[in-house]
């Protein structure tokens, strides 16, 4: 059964927005953040209007309702990701999740000379924490290059880089190229040499049903806001035996067992890594988002988004001067289509597209090493999601063609 995209669109209040320039919004900036269905917004409003309260140690009704909602969100979200609540640590997003691996696991488990393998395709969030750890601890960071013809990871170079690796950090799906990496192969090979694996699924989670226990990665980082959830929340999924080897990162209330002036003992498991007042509204919103997403078969969502991206890239390639980065013809490629015009500078192009109501992202997309590998300072990127339509893509291509004709 195909997705009923029109019905889906009705769930999103923002999609009927008309921009100040009179054009209806065409939102193609989904890789930056997705829009939110009404049920997600409503779930948060309902929390604030009906049972807002600090959670835990719940000795009054509101606190109890808030605690229940928070824990029920944890159950929903972890089960959506194919794992147990015990394996999920709430963070503020994928960035904090990766920093948590750096501070809470790597800092305690890696020594000078240990090797961390990352790729040229990583988002800064999966590069800078490792560079910083390298400065602090003397670990070695190796970058697996990409093949700039196929835009895929150079797996031969990966095999070589793996020698002596203790941690492999790979983006599941590139936010720039839309390329999905062969994460299954990467996990198998990394484990074979005794390395742990962190997958950055910030882009993967909105496009594929992440099944943590089945995938067998050691860590998975996810942001809610890219998958219909609110800003300010995300999670790190961690295998139990790996979590047992983690030490405290941020400390304070909730994560403790007993605090005295002589020292403190900590909670075990995910509770050790969640301190301070929880992101209650955000967790509830994200829970509503996975409930909403559960209405759909993610394979169909992927097929829909992939078809839009593939169709868009095919039509865009026909426009003189347009160059595509990535390979949207690959069936596992996601909804991100990066492109440049050979004479219209990317910022100018973005402004001219915006003039037609088309929201695309422009810049280095927090992936400067990838830009360096591609030999460009930035790209324009149209990225599609569940509520985008073929008609939107058609009008986008038409407007793009018009701009290219007129401004080059």
């Amino acid at each position: 059964m195909a997705l009923d995209v029109n019905a889906i669109r009705n769930d999103f209040p923002i999609l009927s927005r008309v921009l100040p320039n009179g054009h209806p919004l065409v939102y193609f900036d989904n890789a930056a953040t997705s829009q939110k269905p009404k049920c997600v917004i409503d779930a948060m409003t309902q929390y604030y209007e009906q049972y807002n309260s600090n959670a835990h140690r719940a000795n009054h009704t509101l606190a109890d309702e808030a605690t229940q909602a928070l824990e029920s969100a944890r159950n929903k979200i972890s089960s959506y990701f194919g794992t147990n609540p015990e394996n999920m640590i709430y963070t503020s997003g994928a960035t904090e999740a990766i920093n948590l691996v750096a501070y809470g696991w790597a800092r305690y488990n890696l020594q000078k000379g240990d090797v961390i393998v990352i790729t040229e395709m990583e988002h800064h969030a999966d590069i800078v924490p490792w560079q910083e750890l390298s400065k602090e601890k003397g670990v070695e960071v190796r970058y697996v290059p990409i093949n700039t013809e196929s835009f895929t990871l150079d797996m031969e170079a990966f095999d070589v880089a793996l020698d002596g690796a203790k941690l492999v950090c790979v983006v599941h799906t590139s936010n720039v190229l839309g390329i999905r990496n062969p994460v299954e192969e990467i996990i198998l090979k990394s484990h074979a040499v005794g390395s742990r694996v962190l997958l950055d699924c910030a882009q993967g989670a909105p496009h594929e049903r992440i099944s943590f226990d089945n995938m067998d990665a050691d860590f998975i980082a996810i942001s809610a806001h890219k998958m219909a959830g609110p800003t300010g929340i995300g999670c790190l999924l961690v295998k139990s035996d790996v979590m047992d080897k983690m030490g405290p990162f941020m400390t304070g209330g909730s994560m403790i067992r007993r605090v005295t002036t002589d020292g403190s003992t900590f909670q075990e498991g995910h509770a050790m890594f969640e301190t301070g007042t929880p992101r209650i509204a955000e967790a509830i919103g994200w829970g509503a988002a996975v409930d909403w997403l559960s209405n759909f078969d993610m394979k169909e969502v992927h097929a829909h988004v992939h078809n839009l991206a593939h169709f868009a890239s095919q039509e865009m390639s026909k426009i003189n001067g347009i160059r595509i980065f990535g390979d949207p013809s690959r069936s596992d490629s996601s909804g991100a289509v990066s492109f440049l015009h050979d004479s219209i500078q990317s910022q100018d192009l973005a402004i001219l597209l915006d003039e037609g109501g088309f929201a695309v992202r422009t810049g280095h997309h927090c992936a400067q090493p990838l830009m360096d590998a591609l030999g460009v300072p930035s790209t324009n990127r149209a990225s599609f999601w569940i509520y985008n339509t073929e008609e939107e893509v058609e009008s986008f291509v038409k407007h793009l063609r018009y701009i290219c004709d007129r401004f080059s």
Partner: protein, 141 residues
């Protein structure tokens, strides 16, 4: 053949709770029952091992078989409401065969009108306690 949901000797206790005018009266009764615990576990015997997790306050349970092979649940809590629930539970299960305890359900708390006057996590605390007793009994079978 349907079996009873709770042992016969609990009937008068349940009736007493059912007769309560409101939740305040029920809580008052729980306070009274907390003092009547048939097999209390004194604080000296509270350990990490016998602690029931997921309760708001501290709760500890030790289960054993008496000389005649009958189930004995000893329990202690620092809050009287919890202690009262433990007390009623002990009245229910003490002296039963462990098989019987292991297949018991927590319906008596519903019948007492207690469970739906508890907020969800307090109800969970009670269920954790009950589940602890049930699973200890299972191990003895």
């Amino acid at each position: 053949m349907t079996s009873r949901l709770w042992p016969e000797h609990l009937d008068p206790v349940i009736a007493e709770f059912q007769d309560c005018f409101d939740s305040m009266e029920r809580y008052e009764l729980l306070f009274e029952y907390s003092a009547k615990h048939p097999s209390p576990l004194p604080p000296e015997e509270w350990t990490d091992e016998n602690q029931v997790h997921g309760c708001q306050s501290r709760a500890h349970i030790e289960c054993s078989l008496d000389s005649s092979g009958r189930f004995l649940m000893r329990g202690g809590a620092d809050a009287q409401i919890v202690q009262g629930l433990m007390s009623v539970t002990a009245m229910a299960v003490n002296g039963m065969k462990p098989e019987r305890v292991s297949s018991m359900s927590p319906e008596y708390a519903d019948a007492m009108g207690i469970r739906n006057s508890l907020t969800p996590s307090r109800a969970n605390g009670f269920l954790n306690m009950f589940e602890r007793v049930r699973s200890e009994a299972e191990k003895m079978v």
